[in-house]
Symmetry: C2
Subunit: 214 residues, 2 copies
């Protein structure tokens, strides 16, 4: 089996632009990628591919095979799947809360397709036992898309229920979860930049510097 | 063992007031309470108490013992715990995504305290084996509070990792999760009032009637 991580550094995480500069966001996604790769290795995954539009955007310290592909996310992943005959784990790069035990659980799953939903209808992780029978359809309500595609192909589905694995870091309130429940270097990076503000409702982040600095 | 659900109907869920009228919010929390009680019963919990400031606010069809207490959430729950000698499951009323299998897992836990975090630092479920040794501290970063209180009391802690059980319905985007992953009557209620709007980012809800009507 292999894992593949789609990764884009340039102007990444635009929905965090209210709390981070472009440079900070680009550094932050690098840290999250390092966390995800470390977790995969800890979870026993030896073959890791990173698909990225610009190979030089992946730091040399990231120990993985780099595949340069600047086509749309769905196109490049479907091309990738069509070339594979072994089980494939597709994992997003913005999941610093995932632990190696989640990876172990997911790849031990007997279902044809294991899906970890993301917040707001996304898909954070897909484990596909028969890549030749599946195609991805990210963006929008991709969790529903992927359930439907698996059903159309008569593939069995397991929805993996984990708060940590379902928390993709895309919007400012997600950084709260990283501060509260995280452990890796992306959490350390966030911790230097954000405090937590309590109220009667949910805890929010508060940037230490109101005027953002890289 | 017993379960206890703190419940307030009057002007409930004020953070949903941008998408629901007061009357709709009050009906919605009733539906969520019914879902939670049904799930507890399905999960094998026979003794269910509901603590509420106004007993008449709990519909007769809700099969549970009603305890009227109009003091603060922490005060009334700590008074409740101090009077109990059996394991206590505290579960919030806004968790329509919780399934009976979660309840079974949680009450089978051997830890002194099992905590299900809520979104943004909250606490959705607490299973307390020795209620005389524990006290609650809700609001703000209550997940951290409860971990700290357990540690101070030298009680073992298990953090229960579930996307469904960690999704409390408090803000408009939470209703998206209910529409996507829910099953009970609160989901049916939401489904009549909201559609889903897709974009490149997370799926959002869109009220069917822009001008809110009860």
């Amino acid at each position: 089996m292999r894992a593949v991580i789609p990764y884009k550094k340039e102007n990444a995480k635009s929905r965090l632009s209210t709390v981070m500069t472009k440079e900070q966001r680009e550094t932050f996604v690098e840290k999250m990628l390092l966390d995800v790769v470390a977790t995969l290795k800890e979870g026993g995954i030896r073959n890791i591919d990173i698909i990225t539009p610009k190979a030089c955007d992946v730091k040399k310290e990231v120990k993985a095979n780099i595949i340069e592909d600047d086509t749309d996310l769905n196109d490049c992943l479907n091309k990738y799947l069509s070339q594979k005959e072994e089980p494939i784990l597709i994992i997003m790069a913005d999941l610093p809360l995932v632990k190696f035990s989640h990876i172990e659980d997911i790849v031990a799953s007997e279902a044809d397709v294991t899906i970890v939903p993301g917040k707001g209808g996304g898909t954070n992780i897909l484990f596909i036992r028969k890549p030749e029978k599946f195609r991805v359809k990210y963006y929008g309500s991709s969790f529903e898309n992927h359930c439907m595609i698996a059903a159309q192909q008569k593939l069995s589905i397991r929805v993996y229920d984990s708060f940590l694995a379902s928390t993709d870091i895309d919007e400012p309130q997600d950084i709260t979860e990283l501060l509260l429940h995280g452990q890796g270097i992306a959490k350390d990076y966030a911790k230097k930049r954000f405090g937590k503000t309590e109220s009667k409702g949910r805890v929010k982040i508060s940037p230490f510097n109101e005027i953002l600095m890289s």
